[in-house]
């Protein structure tokens, strides 16, 4: 099947997914409200933290908000495209995953196209409002170059976080678990990146730069936009976000396919 045909089919499947989701409008609205509440809660915690101390490292409240909002913005796209990957284990356990294997399609594609979670509207609303506030407070000048850079960072962030979700879902092929991995590994790891990486021990910074490249989601790009120092790393790291994203997602896809072939030999 050609790429163009796949893209056409993707939109068909996705629009079905959206229509299915809109059957539950009340739940949909409540989820958006819930997410905005949760993120506002974290922002309030940051504000309380800096109420007495003024700065964290050399980051002030609004700089931290920017860092936080960038993470949430790319996470919003991730939720749309990949968030359902975390529950691959449920699909495997109750046997519904087999459905994807009796169809003449690439299973990764088919699984990805199955859901399109538009409730991430909450993430977009939150992060865009924060961007506007922070831009005024820090008097940021948004040139075309900077906007393009931001776009690249978002693409990179989506691919990196999406890649990690894909890897986590692939664990289900080996361990029959994935959702839990999300809550115990990726959720805390994402929380780490809400704060400037410079405050963490060197080995953590090293891991988030080269192993699980979360640093490229928001920290490195933010240091470029806000002209912040990056101890241990050159200050142009942020420019590599899209590249790192593509490479990491490629790796994730490879691992997923490896897991799938293992699933086919063990069936569990």
């Amino acid at each position: 099947m050609t790429i163009a045909k796949y893209i056409k089919l993707y939109f068909k499947l996705v629009s079905a997914g959206i229509r299915a989701q809109l059957q539950y409008r009340f739940a949909f609205v409540m989820r958006i409200i819930g997410m905005i509440t949760a993120y506002t809660g974290t922002a309030v915690t940051m504000w309380v933290m800096l109420y007495q101390f003024q700065t964290l490292g050399d980051w002030n409240f609004f700089e931290m908000l920017f860092l936080f909002a960038l993470s949430i913005l790319s996470w919003g796209f991730c939720i749309i495209l990949f968030f359902h990957f975390r529950s691959l284990d449920t699909y495997i356990l109750n046997g519904t995953f087999d459905r994807f294997l009796v169809r003449p399609l690439n299973p990764f594609f088919h699984f990805m196209a199955m859901k399109f979670d538009i409730a991430s509207f909450g993430q977009f609303l939150f992060s865009i409002v924060v961007f506007v506030i922070v831009s005024f407070q820090l008097q940021l000048e948004w040139t075309l170059g900077k906007l393009l850079f931001l776009l690249g960072a978002i693409v990179g962030g989506v691919l990196i976080q999406g890649g990690l979700l894909v890897i986590i879902s692939a664990f289900a092929f080996w361990t029959t678990k994935s959702e839990q991995f999300y809550w115990v590994a990726m959720f805390p790891a994402r929380n780490l990146t809400y704060y400037p990486l410079a405050i963490y021990p060197k080995f953590i910074q090293w891991i988030t730069a080269f192993v699980i490249p979360f640093g490229f989601v928001n920290y490195f790009p933010t240091t470029v936009i806000l002209n912040k120092e990056t101890p241990y790393f050159p200050d142009y790291m942020g420019y590599f976000s899209p590249l790192v994203g593509v490479l990491f997602f490629g790796l994730a896809y490879f691992i997923w396919m490896l897991g799938l072939s293992r699933y086919k030999s063990t069936g569990s």
Binding site: T45, L56, P188
Partner: protein, 287 residues
């Protein structure tokens, strides 16, 4: 089920309760069962420990950066503050070993809890005793060894007086019970709401910020501190940890414990009220 059947169920409960001097031994069985069952979920034990360590590392780093080399801020030494965060993460580990909020909600939605109404035991008490079992297992296999190592290697301020240890343990236990009541109450709200979206986020927010689990109340802006003081959440983390690091001493300890008992009483009453409403709803409207 009509009212008559409801009364029959109640009677069965009363009869069992009266016959059951063995009632406590029945609850004790739930504890033992939960203890043994925890071991089956070995992955959960490891993973929860992993995420606990990540959060400890995060908050430790944040407070180190906030102090920025100073020995003291707002009258609290850096060592005391670091101890505060470590103890807080320990208590967080203890609290997380119990039945989580989403599981209670799930049990309400699937009707598991409604089914348990038919059984001759008190449902909130049954879950509490089961939690004792899973908490004990998690403490023995993961939390205690981990935190012994952490306390050994980090330069933390341990209480020197054994009485402080006793007060801390009592205070932490009351805190655990308060959290149980609050969480169960929030979980039971699922009985009355079609969608709980915002509710659980408010719960998690209160649990992390207003309880003082990540920022002690004395660093709050005064208006927020006032709000937090008049809420039960501070009794879960802030009060026991303050006793541990010696911020609450002498007669204040007893005021603090008394206040905790008061909150426990209030939260228990609220839980009972919500529970009675919920079970009434189940038996009259079928859940």
């Amino acid at each position: 089920m009509n009212m008559l059947e409801y009364e029959i169920v109640l009677k069965i409960k009363i009869i069992y309760g009266v016959q059951g001097m063995s009632s406590w031994s029945m609850y004790w069985t739930f504890t033992k069962k939960a203890f043994l069952r925890s071991s089956v979920y070995r992955f959960e034990v490891w993973s929860r420990t992993g995420s606990n360590i990540i959060f400890l590392l995060m908050w430790g780093s944040i407070w180190t950066a906030l102090y920025a080399g100073r020995d003291e801020a707002g009258g609290v030494t850096f060592t005391a503050m670091l101890t505060y965060i470590v103890v807080s993460q320990f208590l967080d580990g203890v609290n997380e070993a119990g039945t989580p909020l989403w599981e209670i909600q799930e049990k309400v939605r699937t009707g598991d809890i409604s089914l348990e109404l038919m059984r001759p035991f008190d449902v909130p008490l049954r879950y509490l005793f089961a939690d004792f079992g899973s908490v004990a297992f998690y403490m023995i296999t993961a939390l205690l060894p981990l935190y012994l190592v952490i306390f050994y290697f980090l330069d933390l301020a341990l209480p020197t007086n054994w009485l402080t240890w006793v007060y801390f343990i009592i205070s932490a236990c009351i805190g655990f019970l308060i959290r149980y009541c609050v969480e169960m109450t929030f979980g039971l709200l699922t009985f009355f709401l079609v969608e709980t979206g915002g509710i659980e986020d408010i719960f998690y927010f209160a649990m992390s910020l207003l309880s003082g689990s990540v920022i002690p109340l004395w660093f709050f802006p005064s208006w927020l501190e006032t709000i937090a003081v008049y809420l039960p959440f501070q009794a879960i983390f802030f009060m026991p940890i303050s006793i541990f690091i010696g911020e609450t001493t002498g007669g204040e300890v007893f005021t603090s414990l008394g206040l905790q008992l008061f909150w426990l009483f209030v939260c228990y009453l609220v839980l009972r009220m919500v529970w009675n409403r919920a079970s009434h709803k189940v038996v009259v409207q079928g859940g």
